[in-house]
Amino acid sequence: MPKLPIGLWVDQVVSWAQVHLEWLFDFISRAIEILVTGIETAFLTVSPLIIIIIMFILVWFIANRKIAIGTAIGLYLIYNMRLWESSVETLALVLASTALALLLGIPLGILTARSDLAHKLIMPLLDFMQTMPAFVYLIPAVLFFGLGQAPGLFATVVFAMPPTIRLTGLGIRQVPVELVEASDAFGSTEWQKLTRVQVPLALPTIMAGVNQCIMLSLSMVVIAAMIGAGGLGFEVLTGISRLDIAKGFEGGLAIVIMAVILDRVTQSLSEKRKINFK
């Protein structure tokens, strides 16, 4: 049997899309750039010290004092390492891709919970997205969007969205049958059932998905830096290429600090919403 030209087929599909959907990719690329630079500017116009104080108060409010103090120390360390701007770039990319992943992932998750057909179609696709090495997305991403933040965001969203879909679907399927039945028995419409019973009760699980999504986005920043997404990933990348241990470690440490802060904050968000079913 001759070799199946699977790679060739994919190549042809990508080339076709590149030519015929250029307008779409241009539009998306432009929109992403505006979004990401918007977030960046918002953070960079304010003095870092003021942001650190605001974050301290905000985190105290959302989580607790301990995490708030840790946040302030971590952020000050980043500032001190002169990595503030790179960190803001990374944060903007993470926030934008998380927002996009949630925007797509939560509705898709709800769909998988409500329709067995959607479940059967989407699940293998998610397996594919999660196990295909992330570097492989970079090639079509660059072809579609050129170099810069847009392909980085594209690859990040593809990589970070699956847990959101999975956990949203799981959360909704886990809502006790009798509660769904009760909601039906009082004459709820499908929308009322979803918004008043299923989603609120699935919220802790959905929040766990949000947390996962953010963590995975962060883990993509170094890879995204390879196609020009900049940020802390770029610091690490230059460290690697120049065998500069100091630069690489500082960049890496800043990523860790951001990861821990984002993780603790989103976790305490979902902790607060945890509901005892019995």
């Binding site: 009082f186 509901i275 005892n276």
Partner: protein, 397 residues
Amino acid sequence: MDKIIVKDLVKIFGDHPEKAVKLLKKGCAKGEILKKVNQTVGIYDINFSVSEGEIFVLMGLSGCGKSTLLRCINRLIEPTSGAITIDGEDITSAAPQVIREMRRKKISMVFQCFALFPHRTVLDNAAYGLEIQGVPTAQRRERAAQVLETVGLKGWENSMPQQLSGGMQQRVGLARALTNNPDILLMDEAFSALDPLIRKSMQDELLSLHNALNKTIIFVTHDLDEALKIGDHIALMNNGTIVQIGTAEDILTNPVNGYVEKFVEDVDRTKVLTAEGVMKPPDPVVFFKDGPRVALRLMREHGISSIFAVTRERRLAGIVQAEDALQAVKEHREELKNIIIEDVPRVSVDTPVIDIIPVIADTKFPVAVTQDDGKLAGILVKGSVLAGMVRKGDNNA
């Protein structure tokens, strides 16, 4: 008037219900159908009607199909065939919007495990039914608070359900079901998850609520004592179909087959049987105008030592003893009036046997059973009470 009529209802679980229906018509058993065509028969051949304002109990062991049947009535489960008519309207063919409207306005449900929404306060749980109908917040909360008060939960409005005890949680469940003021309440093992003392007080409360609100209630339970206590009519189910329908007393005294007999074997009959069920016919009686001679003759004919005297309208006047009558005859006194003992023990027709026993133990006379208007309905002697309590299936024992 019949509020709900269920006719030839069948529910088959599986992909090819028509195959199962065909086999059912041939008289195949559930197990056989499962083996042959891999379809599960939930319920079949269900026929009954529920009158307005009554409590109708569906009773049977777990897996007998009672909950499935209940869920067919508000179409949480789609029946395979047959018809359910509510207020003259066939709901088995009704469109989804009609069913939704019916669930909002006409039929509410109370669940075994309460099924309260854990993310809502007690008040907002109770107001749920009105909320989805689009009733403004203030108005629906006011109504919900009112209903919570009637079920005894005033002051708990802002608690979360999981802070409440089981009994209180089910009161919230009941309040939620009553808030949209439905005609019909479906109660699925509503008290089965509660401990016995709480269960008993909830049953009493349900009965008094029922008296006050006059809803039609279909109550599912596996507890025979509960069924007998609250049911105006009871449908005993087994293996997916109804075995017998009747009042508590019907089922106890006339079980249609061995299954029902076995089922009711252990019931404490003294709580369920009433005077009416164990009394003897009021025969003979002497009429007030008849005189001691007639009384004496009747007593001699029947071999008894005392006889009840009644007025012309058959109201109980009192009792006459043989020796008094004999004395009167000897002394040629022709009127009963002087020898009648008016202070005789009496109970009403619906007095349960458990309350009759002390009365009958305390007196040397038979006990008179009277109707509400004072008419003599029957006579109780120690023997007839004992016979009524051990009687099984045979009404003439």
